[in-house]
């Protein structure tokens, strides 16, 4: 009798350790963060956390810097994601053709993805340095005006987007290439018979068939771009004058520089909701698009 109970519930018993692990490692921090977001806590030993209800959230919604950070987050995310998807698809199409030295090109192309983000940030800081950096040297040799790059409040986000695109486009390209490899060949043969142009084939066959792959790649990247921290922290620390301060960065500053752990937590809860909402929206979009 007992033996059969064990057998019947095998799937539960074997997954139990994993379930517990997930509960401890994922759910607990989230619940704890939500809890702290209702407290005022400065990590002080003498003043214990004090319950303040929703006032952390209200303070945030009244905080100019919070809204600015939200704007910067979306500006950065939308620009980076759009460029990465377009470039990623283009590169995947190029790399899916056969040519000499293809493997070498593929390997070199994937290098940025494996570099340490903070070290990379420091290298890009040197590249962008207005007086002695390579970026301005290149502009000058092309006869263009040197730019301020990271030191200009207007250029800092596009400059950071360039770094992100450089680092992460390969990932999108990699996923798209995998998708391309699975496409059936008959539609192309039929199109060849009909005498369709390469562009026509791309728009009418490749793109629709690739749509699910592109959406998955974009979704994975979206969540990551929203959370970008390392390159911004390593290069500008949110400057100049808050211009590149995203939600993630502001959360860090609130928590570890201002020691306002309650307010930092409430910011992260809002941010968590935002990421979750966007992801659900993407999933919904995906169903709709794939259904169409």
């Amino acid at each position: 009798m007992q033996y059969s109970w064990f057998n019947r519930n095998l799937k539960w018993i074997y997954t139990l350790p994993a379930v517990i692990f997930v509960l401890l490692m994922m759910l607990f921090p989230i619940i704890y963060t939500v809890r702290i977001s209702f407290y005022e806590w400065s990590m002080s030993a003498t003043t214990p956390p004090a319950w303040v209800g929703l006032s952390n959230y209200i303070a945030l919604l009244k905080d100019e810097r919070f809204w600015h950070a939200t704007g910067a987050t979306f500006y950065f995310t939308i620009l980076a994601l759009a460029l990465e998807v377009v470039l990623g698809v283009g590169i995947a199409l190029l790399l899916s053709r056969e040519f000499k030295g293809k493997n070498l090109v593929k390997t070199v192309f994937l290098l940025p993805m494996v570099a340490t983000p903070v070290a990379m940030g420091l290298v890009w800081m040197l590249i962008y340095e207005p007086t002695i950096g390579v970026a301005n040297m290149m502009l000058k040799s092309l006869g263009l005006e040197p730019q301020l790059w990271l030191a200009s409040p207007n250029q800092v986000i596009p400059s950071l987007v360039i770094v992100d695109v450089w680092e992460w486009t390969p990932m999108i390209a990699l996923i798209i290439m995998a998708g391309l490899a699975t496409l059936p060949s008959d539609p192309y043969e039929a199109a060849d018979v009909d005498g369709a142009s390469a562009w026509r084939k791309f728009v009418s066959i490749t793109l629709p068939l690739l749509k699910p792959t592109i959406i998955v790649a974009a979704m994975l990247r979206l969540i990551d771009v929203l959370k970008t921290f390392d390159i911004i922290y390593a290069t500008t620390q949110g400057g100049p004058n808050f211009a590149s301060e995203t939600l993630n960065l502001y959360g860090y500053v609130l928590g570890f520089q201002y020691f306002k752990l309650g307010m930092a937590s409430s910011l992260l809860v809002i941010f968590f909701g935002l990421v979750m909402g966007l992801t659900l929206f993407m999933i919904w979009m995906r169903k709709r698009l794939e259904g169409a």
Partner: protein, 451 residues
């Protein structure tokens, strides 16, 4: 069946979490027990031995700082003399703060003695009850000569009129300049801020990548360096429990600093902290630089600087209120309130900050806080001869803080730094910006009072 299974999961999760938490408590509990045991045996050994501290062990946490490198080879001497064994651990600056914060929050008895940054963390640590006041120890100590420490250095380590730490590294803001350029243009070394501005204008030649002036332009890092401008114009960050960064004097100081950077600094100065500012000066592209004297090696070391033999030092130029650079303790030694070996810990601090030891560490280029060592010709061998009188003079007139002395220093620095950054980005109507920043600073100070 399904429902019971779910309950099962719930119950076992709770059980496991409880067990884990208990285990956590258990281990820290037993550690505390061990410490007490160690102390008991140590006391027993001490009574049996002639050396008062024989058998005691203290833990010392330092930053990765030249002072730590200078003190480590001297430790065997101290251990021989007192019988105290010193265990040293070193960390990078930011890691150090994090480590100390985490350890103290959990009520740890170690480290007994540690390096800390009095103006950045002093008030926070002290208010949290992590720093043992040292007044009694310092006043009673034999042959210690506490009055030998410079007033401004002690001012930096004093919180609520209690001595929270002993100064070990001091620094002042000075003016660095290019001797060759000034000579060629026939300009004397600027003595006032107006003369400085005029000289900067004269030497600025952006077309040929020669810039008049550079200093920190990043929001938070710039605050310490604009402070000397502030004091020299007769202003300050705070006055009693009022924020005063929107007075006409303060606005004049912020505008002077911001305008020098906006009009005469290399491009990209908005993003510069000291490494970038010193870097571009060392490349020979700048005529003037104001920053801490403790960083002089970045300019005089031929391995780092192309203008190593052309760097001049001068006392900070005077404004309406004279020349008032900051003269502060950038690193201090402090004792953990929870330390189990307070007397041994004090014995170490007393030795490390004694005249003899300070003389030895200062000879290795670590500017100490003892007047007698600075007056001793042997005490200044670690510094360029031209820099020594500048240091002495700056220490005399100096102000004992270089940032708002509040608990939330990071937040206050961001509030103040924004005023200068607005000047640098071309905002001409600076009064409202300063008023808003002043409000923010006032709010931070009011909140401090409740802590």
């Amino acid at each position: 069946m399904k429902r019971t299974m779910k309950q099962w999961i719930g119950v076992s999760t709770t059980a496991i979490m409880t067990v884990t938490m208990l285990a956590g408590c258990g281990s820290s509990g037993s550690e505390a027990g061990k410490d007490q045991g160690g102390q008991a045996t140590a006391t027993a050994a001490a009574t049996a031995n002639a050396k008062p501290f024989a058998g005691k062990t203290i833990s010392l946490v330092t930053a990765n700082h030249p002072w730590a490198d200078a003190i480590k080879p001297l430790l065997p001497e101290f251990e021989q003399e007192t019988g105290i064994k010193v265990n040293v651990e070193s960390f990078f600056e930011d890691q150090l703060t994090q480590k100390l914060t985490v350890q103290f929050t959990s009520g740890s008895a170690t480290p007994d003695v540690f390096m800390y940054r009095p103006l950045q963390e002093g008030k926070l640590f002290y208010k949290n009850g992590w720093l043992q006041p040292l007044d009694d120890y310092a006043q009673k100590a034999k042959d210690y000569d506490f009055n030998d420490f410079s007033k401004s250095a002690i001012g930096s380590t004093t919180v609520d009129s209690k001595l929270a730490g002993i100064p070990i590294i001091t620094e002042q803001e000075i003016l660095y300049y290019r001797k060759d350029l000034l000579e060629k243009a026939g300009i004397p070394v600027p003595k006032t801020l107006d003369e400085l501005t005029a000289a900067v204008k004269k030497l600025h030649d952006a077309k040929n990548e020669m810039y008049g002036f550079v200093a920190r332009g990043q929001r938070s890092p710039l605050v310490t360096q604009v402070s000397s401008f502030l004091y020299s114009e007769g202003a300050d960050f705070t006055n009693g429990d009022k924020a005063v960064i929107n007075t006409p004097e303060a606005i004049k100081a912020f505008t002077t600093y911001g305008t020098l950077l906006k009009d005469y600094a290399p491009p990209g100065v908005l993003n510069m902290s000291w490494p970038q500012a010193f870097g571009i000066f060392a490349q020979g592209k700048v005529a003037f630089l104001t920053d801490a004297n403790s960083l002089y090696k970045n300019l005089t070391d031929p391995a780092k600087s192309q203008v190593a033999d052309k760097v001049g030092f001068a006392v900070f130029p005077s404004g309406k209120a004279g020349s008032k650079p900051y003269s502060i303790t950038s690193w201090g030694l402090a004792m953990n309130t929870k330390s189990a070996n307070k007397d041994a810990a004090w014995a170490f601090i007393q030795w490390a900050s004694s005249k003899d030891t300070v003389l030895k560490t200062q000879q290795k280029g670590n500017p100490g806080a003892r007047a007698s060592v600075w007056d001793n010709p042997e005490g200044t061998t670690g510094f360029p001869a031209e820099l020594v009188p500048i240091i002495k003079e700056s220490a005399k007139a100096g102000v004992d803080h270089d940032r708002p002395t509040v608990i939330s220093v990071g937040e206050a620095r961001d509030a103040v730094g924004e005023i200068v950054q607005k000047v640098m980005t071309g905002e001409t109507n600076i009064q409202p910006v300063a008023d808003k920043a002043n409000e923010a600073l006032q709010a931070i100070m009011d909140k401090d009072k409740t802590k």
